[in-house]
C-alpha cells in the first residue's frame, strides 16, 4: 500500500521502517497523512469533535509505542483504524459507565449536534431541523448492537470498502455485508418507532 502526501508516495514499507527506527520524521508523516481520517472515524462513534481529537491522539500514541508489535497481518492503515475503533468503543463504554453511575448526564442536545456546520443556503429553521435529525440518527445508531454499529459506521466513513472493514474487524466480507444490512434494517425500525410515537403524540 502507498500513502500519498504532498503528491509524493510513501510505501507502507518505507514508513514502517522509519517508525520502527523511531524516526520523528516518519511518525510525523504518518500523523499528517492519517490524522483527518482517524479524527473522522472517532467522531462517527463519539459524536463530539473534541473527544474525537483526543481519541485520535491516543490512537497515535498507541501506534508510536506498539509499532514493534505490529505483525503485518494487515496493512498499516488497517491496523491504525483498528486501534481507533477499539479506542472509540472503549471511550463510549466508559461514558456509558459514568452515565449509569449518574456522574454525568447527557445533554438534551449534544455538543456535536450543535457543531454541525450549516450550509450557507440554509436558514435558521433548516439548520435546527438538520441538527435535530442528526441527533435522532446518532441516538438510533448508538442503540444498535456494537458489531452492527461498527460495521455500519465504518461503511459510511471515508468510503471504506467492505473488504477494508472486514480487515479492520478481522472478519469476512459476507459477515460485514450481513452486519451492515441488519444495521440498516434495525435503524429504520427504530426510526419508524420514533416517528410513529412522535406523530401520534403531536395529534
Amino acid at each position: 500500500m502507498t500513502f500519498w502526501m504532498n503528491g509524493k508516495g510513501i510505501s507502507d514499507n518505507e514508513l514502517l521502517a522509519g517508525l520502527r527506527q523511531r524516526r520523528p520524521d516518519a511518525f510525523r508523516q504518518l500523523v499528517e497523512i492519517q490524522k483527518h481520517n482517524i479524527v473522522n472515524i472517532c467522531n462517527r462513534f463519539v459524536h463530539n469533535p473534541e473527544d474525537a481529537e483526543d481519541i485520535a491522539q491516543e490512537t497515535f500514541v498507541e501506534v508510536y509505542r506498539s509499532i514493534s508489535s505490529f505483525r503485518r497481518t494487515s496493512s498499516l492503515q488497517t491496523w491504525i483504524y483498528r486501534i481507533a475503533v477499539s479506542r472509540s468503543l472503549n471511550f463510549i463504554r466508559n461514558q456509558n459507565r459514568l452515565k449509569r453511575r449518574g456522574a454525568k448526564e447527557s445533554p438534551e442536545i449534544s455538543d456535536e449536534v450543535m457543531q454541525i456546520p450549516a450550509s450557507a443556503s440554509d436558514g435558521p429553521l433548516e439548520v435546527l431541523e438538520q441538527k435535530e435529525r442528526q441527533q435522532i440518527l446518532d441516538q438510533a445508531l448508538d442503540s444498535l448492537p456494537p458489531d452492527q454499529r461498527v460495521a455500519f459506521v465504518l461503511s459510511k466513513c471515508n468510503d471504506m470498502s467492505y473488504q477494508e472493514i472486514a480487515a479492520v474487524l478481522e472478519t469476512t466480507v459476507p459477515s460485514i455485508e450481513s452486519l451492515v444490512h441488519r444495521a440498516k434494517t434495525n435503524l429504520q425500525k427504530k426510526l419508524h418507532a420514533y416517528y410513529r410515537t412522535r406523530i401520534q403524540n403531536s395529534k
Binding site: 490524522k35 482517524i38 469533535p49 485520535a56 491522539q57 429504520q188 419508524h192 416517528y195 406523530i199
Partner: protein
C-alpha cells in the same frame, strides 16, 4: 384508513430525510496544532514513565545494596566461624592461657596433651 396511510407516508418521509443525513455527514479536519499537541502528549507520558522508572530503579538499587551487605556479612561470618584451623588454634591458645593462669606449675606439654 386515509389518516393511517397519511401517517405511514409521513413516517416514511421522515425516515428517508433522517437517513439521508448519513450521506451528508460533516467531514471533520483535525486541528492545525494536532501534531504539536501529540508531541507534547508523548513527551509528557515519557517523562512520567521515566520518573516512575527512576523511582522504581532507585528502590531496586537500595534493595540490592542492602542485599549485598547482608550477603557479605553472611560470607564473613561463615568464613570466620567455620574456618577449622583457626578454630583449633584458638582453642589451644585459650587452654594454654587458662592453664598458665590457674595451674602455673603444670608443664605445658600435659595441658596440650602432648
Amino acid at each position: 384508513m386515509d389518516d393511517k396511510n397519511a401517517n405511514e407516508t409521513r413516517i416514511e418521509q421522515e425516515i428517508a430525510k433522517t437517513m439521508s443525513r448519513l450521506d451528508d455527514l460533516p467531514i471533520l479536519t483535525a486541528a492545525p496544532d494536532f501534531y504539536d499537541r501529540l508531541e507534547q502528549r508523548l513527551a509528557r507520558l515519557e517523562s512520567a514513565e521515566h520518573r516512575l522508572t527512576a523511582r522504581l530503579f532507585g528502590n531496586f538499587r537500595l534493595g540490592y545494596a542492602l542485599l549485598l551487605i547482608m550477603v557479605l556479612a553472611n560470607l564473613a561470618t561463615a568464613y570466620f566461624a567455620g574456618h577449622p584451623s583457626n578454630a583449633t588454634d584458638n582453642r589451644d591458645q585459650n587452654l594454654e592461657s587458662l592453664a598458665a593462669e590457674y595451674m602455673p606449675n603444670m608443664p605445658s606439654s600435659l595441658i596440650s596433651g602432648q
